[in-house]
Symmetry: C2
Subunit: 408 residues, 2 copies
């Protein structure tokens, strides 16, 4: 964890324990730092898993193996290494992941593909196998820890620990979700990495869990951006132990399926927002709401074009209601838009409607809104029913300092 905490930081919430889930942390010493850096989570027999992974084609071995192994749907353990991302390390990096999977599967007497591994930190250096082995041995002997310890241990350049929780009634039974995430602080020479883990005691078919996670991902993690750059290691995994004793969610027609999906999406949204709130140099949290697009996906792309625009993000940093830059970003998104139907507002006040600045535009409420920490930008394309909200942070001197002023 870094010293300077983000001004957008949120206190770590009380996160319930999840039956069948036992987190432990240990010190593998991947870096020369006085903190735990290996997280080991043991999962009860019968736990099912779903996952979403980075689309970066230069992904790490952890992502390759995770994407492959999530397909079989069962999980017994999660290992997260902090301080070394093991990315771009060729066959030696892959061997290090396979060694961890072999060690843990031998301990649990389970197939290796039920052991999921993530790594985050410096790239280009193969994860040291001896440190990983000793770290896991230490974790197996450690007392179980609480969620905040686990959230802190998976962190690298994060400035605060991040967690979220939700419950849902499934067939008359309360199921609970507890989740932690790290990201997206980056520090040279490392890359941004978002690693998120959701644990629930719900009984759910792995295919349904995967569908719920994929859908939630589209509206949450796929709708955030800090700087348009995409880590080679981004991973979100959901684990369901089934210990709540609810009737198994075997289809979307099952009682409580909607409630479970909504709870999962809520947790994903909270986690996604926390990542943005720890964006490098972030001083303001920005929600970009796009309506009137030809489709939801088109709205999402327009929203991301706005949220990734350095000119929009610096304008918000400067508390400047620069709707012209929003117009520019809409126009370059590559999606259907009509300059003369476009309306743009800030904090609920329209600045321009149907392609022209409002004659009676009242800048006072907009200026007051922009001085706050939570900013909203509203864009109505005036074409259809498609809508989406994406989230980002402003682009500040802090971002440059973190990413440029460092020398390797």
């Amino acid at each position: 964890m870094s010293d300077a905490v983000s001004p957008l930081a949120v206190p770590f919430p009380p996160l319930p324990a999840i039956a069948g889930v036992t987190p432990r942390v240990a010190r593998a010493g991947y870096k020369d730092w006085g903190r735990c850096d290996l997280t080991y989570v043991e999962l009860a027999e019968g736990t099912v898993v779903a996952g979403v992974f980075t689309r970066n084609v230069c992904c790490s071995s952890e992502v390759e193996l995770g994407r492959q192994n999530v397909a079989q749907g069962q999980a017994r353990a999660l290992v997260v290494n902090a301080g070394n991302s093991n990315a771009f390390t060729g066959y030696r990096g892959r061997e290090a992941v396979e060694a961890i999977m072999a060690q843990v599967s031998a301990h649990l007497a389970c197939p290796a593909e039920q052991v999921f591994v993530s790594s985050t930190g410096v790239i280009g250096v193969p994860l040291p196998k001896d440190k990983a082995r000793a770290g896991i041995e230490a974790a197996l002997l450690a007392e179980p820890c609480n969620w905040e310890d686990a959230a802190q241990t998976i962190g690298t350049t994060d400035t605060f620990a991040k967690g979220a929780t939700a419950t849902a009634m499934v067939g008359g039974v309360k199921v609970t979700l507890s989740a932690i995430i790290k990201g997206s602080g980056m520090i040279a020479p490392d890359m941004a990495t978002m690693l998120g883990y959701i644990f629930t005691d719900a009984a759910v078919d792995p295919a349904i869990l995967q569908q719920c996670l994929s859908q939630a991902n589209l509206r949450t993690f796929s709708c955030i951006t800090v700087d348009s750059d995409t880590s080679t290691s981004d991973t979100v995994l959901a684990f369901a132990t089934g210990k709540a004793g609810n009737p198994v969610l075997a289809s979307f027609d099952s009682a409580g399926a909607d409630a479970f999906a909504a709870a999962l999406e809520q947790v994903c949204r909270e986690l996604a927002h926390l990542v943005v709130k720890d964006g490098e140099g972030a001083q303001k949290f920005i929600a970009v709401s796009v309506t009137g697009a030809v489709s939801d996906e088109s709205a999402r792309k327009v929203g991301l074009a706005i949220a990734n625009s350095p000119l929009v993000k610096t304008a918000i940093a400067g508390e400047d209601a620069n709707w012209g830059r929003v117009v520019m970003a809409v126009g370059k998104a590559g999606e259907p838009a009509d300059r003369d139907r476009l309306s743009i507002g800030f904090g609920g006040t329209w600045a321009a409607r149907e392609g022209q600045p409002l004659a009676d535009y009242d800048e006072a409420p907009v200026a007051a809104h922009l001085r706050g920490r939570e900013i909203s930008i509203e864009v109505d394309l005036g074409l259809g029913e498609g809508r989406a909200t994406v989230w980002t942070c402003d682009l500040t001197h802090g971002y440059i300092s973190i990413n440029a002023d460092y020398r390797s």
Copy 2:
């Protein structure tokens, strides 16, 4: 022109006059500034024109009309307004452009569609018709000016005047190209705008001129980026008066067609580089060379993903040979790439080959290279024969200061 000149500035070169081209400047007073802000270039009868325009769908009326009128291939005048972009101003903005076209075409007794207009500056405010009219009247009475005056007058937030020239032998006759450009400095609440004008005395069929310009554009203006944002007004026009007396270039089989195309591309490349060298906050000029892609277009897209990555650009600002960030940018480009075939170098020294850091990587020459003003990044994808070079600048505190510290 701004006070603080870019450290990458290039002195304005000696630019030959072009027979049949008469530039003049005047003070329209679009802003409250003590400088000329209207450029009027009269073109001899028989001048042909070609153009390339922004792909931003929220483009200005100038761009809409220019794109439409360039199709008829003839031009008699160019008017460039600085200080007001006339973008996002609805029908009133369009009326202002049409008024300028009518005024000039009446003066020259030519069709209105042979008058080309560009505007750059503040958005959302219709170009004041009275100021434009008086400015053009003043320009018509003014003495002809030199290219440097014209280059300065089309500029807005540019920190230095930009020009380029070349010659070619066409059928035993020397033809000359002189060209000026402005961009891409931006100033809140304005947007980046790149406006470039190439004048030649060559005799060339308008369709051939358009093909030459479109091809050159693909390898020059379409290969530069400052911050990934796309102006609503970007325009490059080429005018050919035919006064050199060369045999008309009527096809690519004509004698000298290749030489003319090469000269045009050279001028476009020089202009494009000058725009990058005046990028906001730029301290370093970066050339990204991509080889081994599946196609030239794929190589260009990979190059732009690298050149647009805030993490890569801040690493160069920090003089950090952060090849991992280049890997990340390659992977997110959405183009074919294989992590384990990828090689990355800086200034001609490989840092990573075939997916792994070089064991004997010598960082000293790379560190020395990165301390310079002109940086090269080499990426070999190891897949095919496609190649491209794109150019950008680093991302510095200066960019944030220019774009965020300003308050409207």
